[in-house]
């Protein structure tokens, strides 16, 4: 059974510098003092050295103390920040059961269940709008013609009954040429067809 080892003050000399405590510094002081005593029991030859060592060890004690305190403070701060971060993450995404969603720059997150979510591309939108514009214009022309025929400006009822049906290209050709000859508005809108 080893009796002295565990409580031996000399063990302090073997510790890692960053693991030292003030108690170790005191153990170190004791061992050094004992060694000095071996050199000079009266203290005469070594007294200056001895008290310089005391001064150095006092400074060492202060540093070790400060270091350990700082380490403790930093640890506490780190733990506090960690706890806060966890808390914020929990609050940030309550609905989705997933973990963190990573959105890069210039990206939008879309909820697929949203009925008002964007669905069509720009191109699709352009085409639809153009078609609408065309149809609107044709409608206006046709309405005008009806007005003119009703008011009697245009004597021939038949051409007034011209088809405005865009779907039959042959009919279109005939009616467009007829309209173009008979009406001013038709002349104005003759460029409409592509």
């Amino acid at each position: 059974m080893e009796f002295g080892e565990e409580s031996s003050p000399a063990l302090a000399f073997e510790k890692n510098a960053f693991e030292l405590t003030v108690e170790d510094v005191y153990d170190i002081s004791y061992v050094i003092g004992r060694d000095l005593l071996k050199i000079s029991s009266t203290g005469e030859e070594v007294s200056d050295l001895q008290f310089r060592i005391v001064r150095v060890l006092e400074m060492f004690e202060t540093l070790v103390n400060k270091y350990n305190l700082s380490v403790e403070e930093l640890k506490m701060e780190r733990d506090n920040l960690k706890a806060e971060l966890d808390r914020i993450i929990k609050e940030g995404s309550p609905s989705s059961g997933h973990g963190a969603q990573q959105t890069g720059a210039n990206q939008v997150v879309v909820d697929l269940n949203d009925p008002n979510r964007p669905r069509f591309t720009m191109q699709e939108l352009k085409e639809v709008l153009q078609e609408r514009n065309q149809l609107k214009a044709q409608l206006m022309v046709a309405q005008e013609e009806i007005q003119l025929y009703k008011s009697g400006i245009l004597p021939q009822p038949e051409p007034a009954m011209a088809d405005v049906d865009l779907d039959t290209p042959a009919a279109k050709e005939d009616s467009s040429s007829t309209i173009n000859e008979k009406t001013t508005i038709g002349k104005l809108f003759s460029f409409r067809r592509k």
């Binding site: 059974m1 009796f3 002295g4 565990e6 409580s7 031996s8 003050p9 108690e23 510094v25 005191y26 153990d27 002081s29 004791y30 050094i32 003092g33 000095l36 029991s41 009266t42 203290g43 005469e44 007294s47 200056d48 001895q50 008290f51 060592i53 005391v54 001064r55 060890l57 006092e58 060492f60 004690e61």
Partner: protein, 456 residues
Amino acid sequence: NNRQQQLLAQNLQLPPEARIEASLQHEITRLTNENLVRSQALMMTGQTEGQTSPGQMVEEPIHPVNIPRREKDFQGMLEYKKEDEMKLVKNLILELKPRGVAVNLIPGLPAYILFMCLRHADYVNDDQKVRTLLTSTINSIKKILKKRGDDFETVSFWLANTCRFLHCLKQYSGEQAFMKHNSVRQNEHCLSNFDLAEYRQVISDLAIQIYQQLVKCMENILQPMIVCGMLEHETIQGVSGVKPTGLRKRTSSIADEGTYTLDSIVRQLSAFHSTMCQHGTDPELIKQVVKQLFYIIGAVTLNNLLLRKDMCSWSKGMQIRYNVSQLEEWLRDKGLMNCGAKETLEPLIQAAQLLQVKKKTDEDAEAICTMCHALTTAQIVKVLNLYTPVNEFEERVSVAFIRTIQTRLRDRCESPQLLMDTKMIYPVTFPFNPSSLALETIQIPTSLNLGFLTRV
């Protein structure tokens, strides 16, 4: 310096009044010379910056005006103003921690400092100062013992320092008996004006008080460990009886269920020993402490054994003897074989042997009576009555056998008491232990906050 020595030699031969006058005269001369030297040195500092003589000290930051003197010129005294006395005892006694750089590196430092203050008060022939310093010191030590009397470190620290102070009072008293080991210089430092023999008695009484408190402190710490570690915890495998109380390895000092083992006791003893050494406790005093501790351990263990049937078996006897041998091993390790500690365990050792020997025939009875000289008849009889066989083959001790023992021992004159007195404390002595430390070499470390003291 030779001149100083001559003067002092002459001085000691003069009658007291003339002595005082002569020393004052000498002091005046010295101071005048010093002033001359200082004013010269002040003029020279500007020009001789790079040159410092080898023996010169580094300037102390607390007294920027002081010109550092060479070591040889210090007389090993510390001067302070009367109004600083409260601060002195506060920083040096009441608020001083028993562990620190300064006090660990120089054991007994507080005692030396106090004595150096006392020396100066004596030197300037101020009996008021001497008296108040001593009174404050004694009262402060008592105060700290009341406040932190259950802290082993504090009590041990002040026992060591009080003893050191006492030794200083003797060593520098001027009495021939105490000056045998003094150096010439140390003899020069003897008290010149006052005889403090009466105060020595007061301080000696204080030291005894502290010692008793220390023993009580240590006993309180050891108490819960003793029965567990000495009797209950089993370390020898395969020796336990029908109902084993649990076999555990002895590597951990506190076993799984938080019980104490013999190892706990040994570790605690080592801790006590180490701390006392670090405080600079006199080796002779340490021996007495250890002896006292061993007595307590032995007495508590034996008393427990005498009251419990389950402790009186052959295997327990074996366990106890093993434990005792471990304690002896510790004594050997610390160089304490001759302190009388082992002898205090005799009653316990003999009780353990009694558990193991044969207890049937007349020859056995004779052997027992010879062997158990440290046990009383009452104790022997009790053990025999309680003795529990480990297995069915063994028989209990017969009543006839016990009666045989009693008859053989009837001529003994001893107390009928069964149990040992666990509160008994051996009377303590403080053999004179002079120190070779040269007082003039002592400087005041900054961490002690005693900047108001001036080295003289």
